[in-house]
Symmetry: C2
Subunit: 204 residues, 2 copies
């Protein structure tokens, strides 16, 4: 469905703004805009202002580069968390995912991307130097790399491993294996092979 | 996926705003917000301001109740269009859909909804009186009802028919039949029956 004619230039502008978002086509954008048009004015104003504030007021934690409302994020500032282990992740979404598992109680370091020659992302574009600096300062015992098991993720992990190998720090990575709920039959052979080599004691 | 902890209250606020939209869950909302966070500030400001302007500056055409940037919309103001036929539609989206077919050159009347006792929408909630008034003023020859062939659509069409039957005006409705591209085999019998009764001369 293409739109040859919009009854209003402002409507068209709003539809265009929404359709710039990833995964939102013109038809969905129109539906969203017409929905907003029927909402109370203060609600729509709040929506608009939240977006504007988002860019102006959000901070990135000076230590781990996670999103934060303050200079140092709540996780870094939490003395109840294990300050000796840093989980290295690609982006903020990964921090949220890992926090949701409630299985990690250390600190984070957000790289802000992943090494990708295809997309022109070099190590210098990422927060790698600041990670090395955090490790060099001493108290860190373990660097836990929670990067995707993709070519880029593995490249980044290997680069970090080389960079940190001089430091007295244990380097770990997330376990790779058959995803829970997946059938063995459909697992690729590299994953299956890895899950055999890294077999773990049975627990229930 | 639920989010127990957000690294930032502002991030959470933005995600909540997006997830209020129809069809947007928390996970999609987070993806959209993180996308916006990586866009240039002026672009995000423009997005926010467009939403705010949407509610403040958009008009509804005084004649047909379509969305408009001016008091009378471009369609009503266009002397090149047939001023003797009014297409009655449920909402603004239908105007856009019909305009996109380029098969209609008359005027519109947007009811702003459809009679639905289930949802508590009564005839008085819709722009029906203003339609009767437009017809009573004279120049209209035909009222073309382009309402969905649903129970609510048919109820609304029947109500309009009764309201307008006293006026000297031809009342028509969109053709119902087998949708182009659909297989006869899968058509419901009411639609199939209707498409037999209303068979049309073959043309190619």
């Amino acid at each position: 469905m293409s739109f040859q004619s919009f009854p209003s230039a402002l409507l068209e502008a709003a539809v265009n703004e929404f359709s710039k978002l990833p995964g939102i086509g013109k038809k969905t954008a129109l539906r969203l805009v017409l929905y907003l048009l029927h909402q109370p004015t203060p609600d729509v104003e709040k929506f608009g202002n939240t977006l504007i504030r988002l860019k102006h007021e959000i901070h990135y934690c000076k230590r781990c580069h996670n999103i934060s409302d303050t200079e140092i994020c709540d996780i870094c500032a939490d003395s109840g968390r294990d300050q000796s282990i840093i989980c290295v992740v690609e982006n903020i979404k990964d921090v949220i995912s890992i926090e949701n598992t409630q299985q990690f109680n250390g600190l984070y370091h957000v790289l802000g991307g992943i090494i990708s020659p295809m997309e022109g992302i070099a190590p210098s574009d990422l927060e790698i130097d600041s990670l090395v600096e955090r490790v060099a300062q001493g108290d860190i015992q373990e660097i836990f790399m929670a990067l995707s098991p993709t070519m880029e993720g593995d490249t980044t992990a290997y680069y970090l491993y080389r960079k940190l190998s001089a430091c007295q720090v244990k380097i770990t990575t997330i376990a790779r294996g058959i995803a829970i709920g997946n059938e063995l039959e459909y697992a690729d052979e590299i994953t299956l092979g890895r899950s055999i080599v890294n077999r773990t004691p049975f627990s229930y």
